[in-house]
Subunit: 175 residues, 2 copies
């Protein structure tokens, strides 16, 4: 299965595409960072993110989208923008008719490093090793997005299958 | 000018449409509440919200969209969902090519009641009086959405005009 992982953010939104099956290393298809300027209007920033994600989904045709869950205990000054970006990220997957799964940072860290409290350097290091990359993906947002995709593949996407059926039904029903 | 106000929320998202000019009472065109079930999948909830807002914008053809700004100090259990919904709300306006403005709860309260610390009952009471409604709009989310629209009209939308030009330019530029 091919999974597009999204580490949501307004200033930097990491996107990573990985193909693989549960229990195998997996292959990186590509990674990207969608950027916008902190001083720019919020509507333009979200519109830019929405378009970029729609283009990447159209280009890579993933089977599922995995998005990092945002928590209120993060940096209060930026968390609202991150949460808005995550809403747009989840919506981008849903609008493309794809199953969307969210994972906590601990779930992602545990999936790739074995520890839910691993630091960013450990996550980047493991992503580089697991995907047999020549160099660590930069910035860290891209490594996190690849880790999200790996996490989703390894967890097998059982919930994703149920949700895909619900989404397909929702898209069929006229509103 | 016709303004569509949005009080973002996942479980209940208030939408209010008002037509008017600065300094005059204004006329209510309609109000709505977009609902989704707390137990439902987040992707389906945001997809439902996105569709409903796109439909209401297409139906009412507002000149601008006004969205309430979300703060981290709100209820931590629900604030992330509210912020995600606000991202989808801002995006809905931007995707329709409309200027989108955000206002803090205090700005909205001050605009309709004269006090930034007015309570919900006061806001509902003033909205009912200003729009000469036979009965108070219910639930409070709908009254808040109408108050947002009034707030935007009364503030004259100077920033909105600048932003409209930027949005139009962004939509013209191929990506």
């Amino acid at each position: 299965m091919r999974v597009l992982g999204i580490d949501p953010g307004l200033t930097r939104c990491g996107v990573g595409v990985v193909e693989g099956v549960p229990g195998r290393p997996g292959r990186m298809i590509g990674y990207y960072v969608v950027r916008s300027e902190p001083g720019e209007d919020i509507a333009l920033r979200l519109l830019n993110l929405d378009r970029s994600l729609a283009e990447l989904i159209a280009e890579h045709k993933p089977d599922a989208v995995a998005v990092e869950r945002v928590f209120a205990q993060h940096n209060v000054r930026t968390v609202m923008g991150t949460a808005q970006a995550s809403g747009v990220a989840v919506l981008a997957g849903a609008r493309a008719g794809l199953p969307v799964e969210t994972y906590t940072p601990s779930e992602v860290k545990a999936a790739v490093t074995g520890s839910g409290t691993a630091d960013k350097a450990q996550v980047t290091s493991m992503v580089t090793r697991l995907l047999q990359l020549d160099a660590p993906p930069k910035p860290a947002d891209a490594a996190d997005a690849l880790a999200l995709a790996i996490c989703h593949i390894w967890r097998g996407g059982t919930r994703a299958k149920i949700q895909a059926a619900a989404l397909a039904a929702a898209r069929r029903s006229p509103r």
